[in-house]
Symmetry: C2
DNA sequence: AACTATACGGGGCGATCGCCCCGGTTAATA
DNA sequence: TATTAACCGGGGCGATCGCCCCGTATAGTT
């Protein structure tokens, strides 16, 4: 009486929308019509709006989910003294390669202010970076901000490379990051 | 009688529009309203449409002009046996840093099929690249396509870097491009 | 099984933007 | 200076999209 259990279809549809929006944003960028997401999820446009009052809130939710997973992985690696900085970079690139929205989120200022996951990821990245710098495997004059821009650029490269050339952009950037 | 000289105001307005569109696209990207360009040029929206029947044609004209200058410079350097490959890269970055539309054009497939200037630029780049590879200053396994993607990524980096860190992204990429 | 809160779907409003037309004006020619 | 073709400006049409409302159906509670 005080509270009622949430309805099963409500939760199911919310998950469907999140899933569909994830695919749609990844494929077509942030400008996909909401109706396209709705029909992809098999629900009406009104349903989308009820779960996510504004388009931005939907985008934020989607990106936050992806970012959260990445942040988890980053924290995990940051805690491991044997972790390889470059390995994380490669994983990041693999994730973002086929995800337009995620790639943009990683670069834009939206990631920082967007939510808590972005900050966690940034912190993990900073920790990984300074460890790599102390071990001498990354040039010491690089700041975290530099790194963000560089990662964004590397992701741009990878997305523009044909499938049979994947990895070469990242390889070039990594080579440039090492001490010389 | 057979033909009449073009009117002075017509040519003047066309030039104004091209100039205004160049600034507008560079600052705000390809999505600026046509009316914004019109008011910036000090003409009516109808005038813009008469000179450039579609928005795409205006964008193409603007990009082609910029691309043409870059292609000229590229061909000039390609003809000079002492020319430095990395110097051209730096010039390219300097141009594209404050030019959103140009940067996107350099990366997207639009540059190739867009017009003849893009192809000239690509050819000059290819010539510069193979010369640098033969002299041993660039890793030999890189293709021209790779280079395009890499340049696009480097431009992305530079645009995301704060002013006091400009150049570091390019520096990293260049270092990665060298033989190792 | 009856009840009620919650969710669903589709249609519609308002704003934005690209594109185009039309009446008035201006520059080039004779 | 008279003529005429080209150009100018602003207003408007149609399409798109985000956002929201409301009548109906359904899931959870008693």
């Amino acid at each position: 009486m005080a509270h009622r259990s949430p309805r099963a279809d409500g939760l199911r549809n919310r998950a469907r929308i999140l899933e569909a929006a994830g695919q749609a944003f990844a494929q077509d960028g942030p400008d996909v019509p909401l109706d396209a997401i709705a029909s992809r999820a098999g629900v009406g446009p009104g349903t989308v709006h009820r779960h996510f009052p504004t388009k931005q809130s939907l985008l934020t939710a989607v990106v936050a989910a992806r970012l959260g997973r990445l942040a988890d992985r980053g924290e995990q690696l940051a805690a491991d003294p044997d972790a390889d900085f470059y390995e994380f970079l490669a994983e990041l690139a693999g994730e973002a390669r086929h995800n337009l929205a995620l790639a943009e989120a990683l670069g834009g200022p939206a990631s920082v202010e967007a939510d808590e996951a972005g900050q966690r990821l940034a912190a993990a990245l900073a920790s990984l970076l300074s460890a790599a710098q102390q071990s001498g495997s990354v040039r010491p004059d690089l700041t975290v901000g530099d790194l963000h821009a560089i990662i964004t650029g590397a992701l741009t490269m990878e997305r523009r490379l044909p499938p049979d050339r994947h990895g070469i952009g990242l390889q070039v950037v990594m080579q440039g990051l090492r001490n010389w």
